[in-house]
Amino acid sequence: MTTENKTCFQHGMRDGSPIALGYFAVAFTLGIAAKKAGLSAIQALIASALNNASAGEYAGFALIAAGSTYLETAIMTLVVNARYLLMSCALSQKLKPDTPLRHRMAIAYDVTDEIFGICIAQPGYLNPWYAYGAIVVAIPGWAFGTFLGVIMGNVLPTRVVSALSVGLYGMFLAIIIPPARKNRVVAGVVAIGFALSYLVNRLPLFAGLSTGIKTIALTVALALAAAVLFPTDIVNNEEKSPQSGDDSKKAKVS
């Protein structure tokens, strides 16, 4: 590991720690759902360590509880997790084109809302070691949170769990608000995103759609509208923000 990669890894670990904390809280409640579906604590731990997807795992556990077919489980996982397809497409542009396949395949293991978010917020190209640093900190929080959720059920006071789970949204805000401050179109996308998401979640018309489908539909509609109306030359990799000057060189891949 070069010094540069080591620094990136440490930065990743630093940014991954609040994620681990939030994951722990969310995974704890996920463990309760896993227990209801008949999973042992070890099975729940492995499910979380391999899937890294809250909604996807919830859906999967519900299907296991209902005794659905494997095909149904596969399709449901695909639908609920489809937003990661979109995130991976966006993330592919954040990697240096010559990034080796092994790095691409390793990062793919943990493209979650949160890891994706902090990776996108990095100036310049993404150094895979930054993602690895965040992943090694965040995954244990997620996996062991699920494990303890199965074993300990409702030991943590609900107020503590709900306060902790807000942390993940706080992180999303820390990722989207600073660019929104600099770029009016991004600010518009964020504001309209809040408004449309609120409407879609409140109107009875859309009540039958799963959260995953709503997220994908709104994301595509909003990002496409913004791209058509305000095509931009700013791509994360070339953004000339004050702090990105030197950092854009730091994404050397070993």
Binding site: L50, D113, F194
Partner: protein, 104 residues
Amino acid sequence: MEHNIWIYLLVMAAVSYLIRMTPLALIRREITNKLLRSFLFYVPYATLAVMTFPAIMEATQEPAAGLCALIAGILLAWKGCSLFQVAVFCCAVAFIVELLLVFF
């Protein structure tokens, strides 16, 4: 038919991984199409905004606590606070507001 939980877990894990791996492995170069580039540039902001609200109000016992955490988070992030600071302050605000709502 008897179902095996391990097979369920394997199916879920395989599908989750393939969804994430395919674009990263296949899109190996920079996309030059301006519309597509712009689209992918806006995707993170659109999707993270959509996922944050109103979900943050459903994460707490009291929606008001989530709303206060949202407002605090936006203000702090606007002021340039770090990821960690914003996340921790949001938790603290949600916790305190929920406590206050119980007592008053």
